[in-house]
């Protein structure tokens, strides 16, 4: 269960930069942190070990009264987003301590979690790359259908996990082994090599691995 430390951020977009050896690298720009620690959970009182981190300041009118009470304990103001990261030894962090991009170093490999772009209700050809049927040669009404979904009386049901049409995207996706190209501490920005799940301005969690 134990994860490694990370911070929350927003995906700003993608661009291309030139690395120190001159090669062009496609990077995703993530504006991350600073994330104050709001609460440290421990096994005795909470039943599990974790740190609770917050991101993006919120106005008072956008927070609920219980949330205001919770944030008041940390004394760092009000925030829009709260996430918990399960750690083996969260006791080394104090409430109110700020986590910034300086947590990471250029060249390090990280895990990035986000919510993928929602694609709506999609057929099997787009969602699962099925081949579909013929357009001609007597083919009727089934041009983009998935074909058979199982057998007969035996087994008598459609197997669980059968790939069919349905809602695609808008789900939690984690990409591992993304290399950090650059850290810009003055702007709270991380440049990650390659793509990151989610739309622009989507909330992402960048973790060590």
């Amino acid at each position: 269960m134990a994860e490694k430390l990370g911070i929350l951020g927003r995906k700003v977009g993608m661009t291309r930069i030139f690395a120190s050896d001159g090669s062009a690298v496609a990077v995703t720009v993530i504006q991350a942190g600073p994330c104050p620690v709001i609460q440290v959970r421990n096994g005795e009182t909470d039943g599990y070990d974790a740190v609770q981190i917050a991101f993006e300041e919120a106005k008072e009118k956008h927070t609920t009264k219980p949330a205001r009470g919770h944030f008041a304990k940390a004394g760092k103001g009000l925030f829009r987003n709260l996430r918990e990261i399960r750690l083996e030894a969260p006791a080394e962090f104090e409430v109110g301590q700020e986590l910034t991009v300086s947590l990471f170093a250029a060249g390090e490999k990280v895990k990035v979690t986000g919510t993928s772009i929602g694609k709506g209700y999609q057929g099997v050809m787009r969602r699962w790359n099925f081949a579909g049927s013929k357009d001609t040669h007597g083919c009727e009404k089934v041009h983009r259908s998935g074909g058979s979904i199982g057998n007969n009386t035996f087994p008598g049901h459609v197997f669980k996990g059968k790939k069919m049409a349905g809602h695609w995207g808008d789900e939690r996706v984690t990409v591992k082994n993304l290399e950090i190209v650059d850290i810009r501490a003055e702007d709270n920005v991380i440049l990650v090599k390659g793509a990151v799940p989610g739309p622009k301005n989507g909330l992402v969690l960048v973790r060590k691995q």
């Binding site: 700003v12 977009g13 661009t15 291309r16 930069i17 030139f18 001159g22 062009a24 720009v29 504006q31 810009r184 702007d187 920005v189 440049l191």
Partner: protein, 115 residues
């Protein structure tokens, strides 16, 4: 978007001369072979400039031993040592793909009139 512009701004090059489609240029490329580094020159006509920020490119076409050769260079690449503007050409469009279908005398570009 301002953050992206700022990051890209640090990687842009402003030291190259202003050249256009139709111009004849010498591109001095830095080529790294193991430890050594040397300069290779590619001379030809610019047939396309794809502008943009760090992703911008330009295409140079030359005819080498009767074979047309085109190379696409990133506009802001550190591998480009320098670009020399040899002659400015008089052309009426920005994408000179028609040169690919022409040979010999017909494939020439008139130099720009300078009054």
């Amino acid at each position: 978007m301002n953050i992206i512009k700022k990051i890209e701004g640090e990687h842009l090059r402003f030291d190259l001369p202003q050249f256009k489609s139709g111009d004849n240029v010498k591109v001095h490329l830095r080529i790294v072979e193991g430890e050594k580094e040397r300069i290779q020159v590619f001379q030809g006509n610019v047939i396309r400039i794809h502008r943009g920020t760090t992703g911008g490119t330009f295409t140079v076409r030359k005819v080498s031993d009767g074979v047309g050769v085109e190379r696409v260079f990133p506009l802001h690449s550190p591998f480009i040592d320098r670009v020399e503007l040899v002659t400015e050409g008089r052309v009426r469009r920005s994408r000179l793909y028609y040169l690919r279908d022409l040979k010999g005398k017909a494939a020439r570009i008139k130099p720009k009139n300078r009054f």
